[in-house]
Amino acid sequence: MSAVLSVAGLHAGYGAGDILKGIDVSLDEGRVLTIIGPNGSGKSTLVKTLAGLLPARQGEVRLAGERVNELSPPKRVRRGLAYVPQEYNVFRNLTVLENLRIAHEFMGGGAGAPLPEEMAALFPELPSRYPALAGNLSGGQRQMLAFACALTVRPKVLMLDEPSAGLSPLLTVEIFRTVKNVNAMGVSVLMVEQNAIEALRISDSCVVLAGGRVRLAAPAAEVLGMKDLQRLYLGDTQQADGQPAGRAAA
């Protein structure tokens, strides 16, 4: 099956140095890809670059085969590359309904309900809170609203930046179940996560990022099976530059 989102030789960063030092990642149609790795490995930078908030210094980003490097974030969203940031992912001073309306109108949704019926089923709690200000919602509800906003117009790819950060275990499970359901509707998902085990359980493939480079790309089940997965976090993942982390003995 063809890759709905492919990244080749991507370099990007904020100030002087490059945080991403040549990334190759591809997400297949209808699949869920989880990117894990210690902090400072460039996970968030990668997603921000794909969303267009950060310019790609080198390399190419293709959405459904079409090069999007030159497109501004609004244009990328309208082409179906939806993105949910980790923090500040809702308009706090606008109501829940207005959040959804804005996403719907400006992502090319045209007329019709702000949330298509199939999506509304995923977020039962939202309609009752339409008049409330998004800033007053709880952490979990805000995350659900951010999801819903990205899904008001069926995207080709949904990118999530650590959706479970700062949430209780119970809510984390609910978040990942929602991701599973969204994927079941044919939306490919690229997810950056700290919660490695939970995220990998619902993913098809996994990429391990460290020091701005891809250290490992393998099916999720295989990475889950790795005994010293924790070594990735607590162990010496920081091999001297250039050498990928050794594949652990099964």
Partner: protein, 286 residues
Amino acid sequence: MLQTAFNGLVTGVIMTLPALAVTLLFGVLKFPNFAVGAMMTVAAYMVFALNAQLGWPLAPATAVVAVAFGGLCIAIDQLTFKPLRGRGGITLMVASLGLGFVLENIARFAYGNTARSFAIELARPFRFLDVRMNREQMITLALSALAMTLMWLLLTRTPVGRAMRAVADNPQLALVRGIDSERIIRWTWFITGILLAVGGVLIGMDRALEPPMGSNYVVGVFGAAILGGLGSALGAFAGAMIIGVVSELSTLVMPPNYRIGIPLVAIALVLVFRPQGLFGQPYIRK
């Protein structure tokens, strides 16, 4: 006493429009527009040109100029502020100060310093509960009430209005939700232009038409916007009303020409005790 309170109400209402414009612009572009006074002056003179010189009645003249001035503000933004986008608050502020000098003095160059007034028929003031309300004040109340409801509807019911509030709330998220910020900035300037045009006419009716007419209001308008909480439309309305009434009432207690002291004291109090003003959200420190 009641008469002064009513006059205060009128002054407050007049200040609401520019205060809304300042707050709206601050929300989206994150800098106080110091040219707000001069812009009102220029718009007022444009209406004066149609009304007094070409004989148009005031209402159509104001409507035409309001729309034209909206377009003019977009052009001014493209020329002056667009090249400075992202250069930081101080640069934009100083540029807006320079722009204010230019606009005010274009009016001074064209019409000189002598005070003028609109050509509207004088009518007997309307008396109610021994409060004298002349015709201009009635028009002022009606016109600004209309402008405010239109503004409120725009901000809450239309996509563009919501987008403006979204960009003010979180510019980066707005981009990722498909909002093209340049287009929204143009819309913001267009609406600012309309508000300032109507505001200029109201000032011209309430007082005389002269080059410094707009800049006399700048401190009051900023006082209203800050008191209400920069960025909050409701705050701008509330701030303007409070400052309008209080400054008018202050004339009973102290010499009238120090009315400007009231908004200044209001700003100082807000800055020291409640920086986000009455309705604004706390200013997020960098």
